[in-house]
Symmetry: C2
Subunit: 374 residues, 2 copies
């Protein structure tokens, strides 16, 4: 359904920052029952700006599932095949979660906020229900809640300059996925060097609404000469960079191995997780299909509002995200394809709007590396 | 965020019927990660038509969570405080589901499709994750899946006339919430006398996509002289009728007792459900606040995209849904208010767009009764 207006309802929540951006937003989506902007000027101009300046993204939709209590670490070990024993509180952990069959439930980032307190920073599915259902069934000594946390992502090559003006020179010593507690006035904020772009940046976990607007104003008043703008995850940039979208590029029907996330399945170190046996089997046999990147020829592709089938005489896969990239002057895509056809440079056909187009497999994303800060 | 266009993405799924209606749809929402139309002509005209004619609603978003296997009944008893022992396969069961604290997880309708096979027909939250998490943790002998089922709702006073033309005179003998297996060509369909309006009607659980388009065409070709139209759940009609929307009128923070759903908590007959102790405590003490209907004075209210606080000097509750009704010539609302102020006719104030308005409590919906068929 293209060009349809989203009808307002309380069921789809606004964020603490909605009032700051709504007059500038041209397109939106719904993510974790909440509004997420998708377009400010247009996707291409938003992308160019993100690659050269600094943007503040309201990613409140990245809800936190908090696990707190004596059994918190034990529960976390049941939820993910990653090893979460004695987790480093100064590092975020990308931790795919799977069901009994090894199917992806979500691909969150986990933060250890305190001794027995973790936040699971989630993609688009109700992880709260998955986690609290398991905790209730096993009668674990934990509380599982959705705290009032609204992350802001500061993204782009000038993001470190901006962050230093507010949080000081400590920002120079953040490695990728580092997590620190920083002061903002009388408040302590969790800040990580993360974000859903490869243009560099940070995520600030804004708690409650007390200082949310002050922080927003502080960011924008300090960023004027940096050409700061409100922004949002950009589909062009994230597909070029090979950042996966749960619900599009992977679903509950895919194993982590199929999605190129096999290295996060530390099944030798963590045998407690749900899906352990299924993952062990898949790891032994190897997945029959894998995630790849695509260079899709021909004119600009339309919105990928469904999958695009991939053919080599017979159907051999599906493109799940695709968009035209000015930087690479081609249509860039992400999809899953049978293992035999997954080799770099393999020529296949993709069916888009009833027309077959040539497409070439890439084993790595168009933009494989995190960009350095200015 | 008013008047914003929803950006297409695979993550928000289309339905088997999207192509049938998309050129006629003016507004949409997202429900269970899927597109749901909200407006065809305009909400008032859609409402008038629904109350006098027959509409076909694509409610594919009403996803099914299928539980199948030896422990299916046992699992169902863990999920809901309703008594689900020896469930009648010819009746649908409205079965609120709660967490350990007695907070609402969802308010689905349960169908017994086969001996050890149930469908949970859900409102807007990932019940699949809640149910499969519990099943996995308890190692129950069940499979929990989301089958390929896309319900169509046939709603309005002429719906029975239409259904008789396709399924025969058996349609005369359907009581409210009856569930039957009916023939359509070589296919067997599950059909219930249910639907999210009080204008009368049925829901057809369309399985797969084999006959979906044939059935759609059959309905529309048989309905021409009945002034048939594609439609969707109508906010005016559902608020007049007191039909609750999960996520708006109740959330995980509300108990069934607060939402007027106490009669569905058969805790004397089912002590196996998660949240049993919490519900027993609430039942003993009585809830401190309850769901009520509101007659809100003054000009037409705007979209209720957040809650509207209710005051009696201090804050005593929240309106969660509200809209202007032509039939009742006032603004009709649903909300939750402290018990002491919940008596019929009590005058309170509701804060809408920074202005206080008078509002009067109603203990029953404006349209409390199911309308008879023509």
């Amino acid at each position: 359904m293209r060009g349809k207006v989203l009808t307002p309802t309380k069921r789809i929540r606004r964020t603490p920052f909605s009032s700051k951006v709504e007059d500038k937003v041209k397109g939106v989506t719904v993510y974790n029952h909440m509004i997420l902007p998708t377009i400010f000027k247009d996707a291409e101009e938003d992308c160019r700006h993100l690659k050269s300046e600094v943007q503040v993204w309201d990613v409140s939709v990245q809800r936190q599932v908090e696990i707190v209590g004596k059994d918190a670490e034990k529960l976390l070990g049941i939820l993910t095949p990653r090893c979460v024993k004695n987790m480093n509180p100064n590092k975020c952990l990308y931790a795919p979660m799977v069901n009994q069959e090894g199917g992806m439930i979500n691909d969150p980032v986990v933060l250890r906020i305190d001794e027995d307190r973790y936040w699971i920073s989630i993609a688009d599915s109700d992880v709260l229900l998955w986690v609290s259902g398991i905790a209730a069934a096993l009668k674990l000594n934990v509380k599982v809640i959705e705290p009032s946390v609204a992350p802001l992502a500061i993204q782009g090559p000038k993001s470190r300059i901006l962050m230093k003006r507010i949080f000081g020179n400590e920002m120079d010593y953040f490695s990728y996925f580092d997590l620190r507690k920083l002061r903002f006035g009388k408040h302590t904020l969790n800040v990580a060097r993360t974000g859903w772009s490869k243009q560099g940046g940070f995520e600030i976990y804004v708690e409650g609404t007390e200082y949310a607007h002050d922080l927003w104003e502080e960011l924008f008043s300090n960023g004027k000469d940096l050409n700061i703008r409100p922004g949002c995850p950009n589909q062009i940039e994230r597909i070029e960079s090979g950042l996966l979208s749960y619900g599009s590029d992977m679903t509950i029907k895919n194993s982590p191995f199929e999605c190129g996330l096999g290295r996060f399945c530390e099944i030798d170190a963590n045998s407690t997780c749900i899906g352990f046996e299924a993952l062990e089997n898949i790891a032994k046999q190897g997945p029959s299909k894998v995630l790849r990147y695509f260079d899709i020829k021909g004119e600009r592709v339309p919105f990928c509002h469904d999958h695009w089938p991939i053919f080599n005489s017979k159907k051999v896969g599906e493109v799940t995200s695709g968009i035209f990239s000015s930087e690479f002057n081609t249509n860039v895509g992400i999809g899953i394809v049978e293992f035999d056809y997954a080799v770099e440079g393999t020529k296949l056909q993709v069916l888009i709007d009833n027309k077959l187009r040539d497409a070439f497999i890439r084993e790595r994303p168009f933009n494989p590396k995190l960009k350095p800060f200015m």
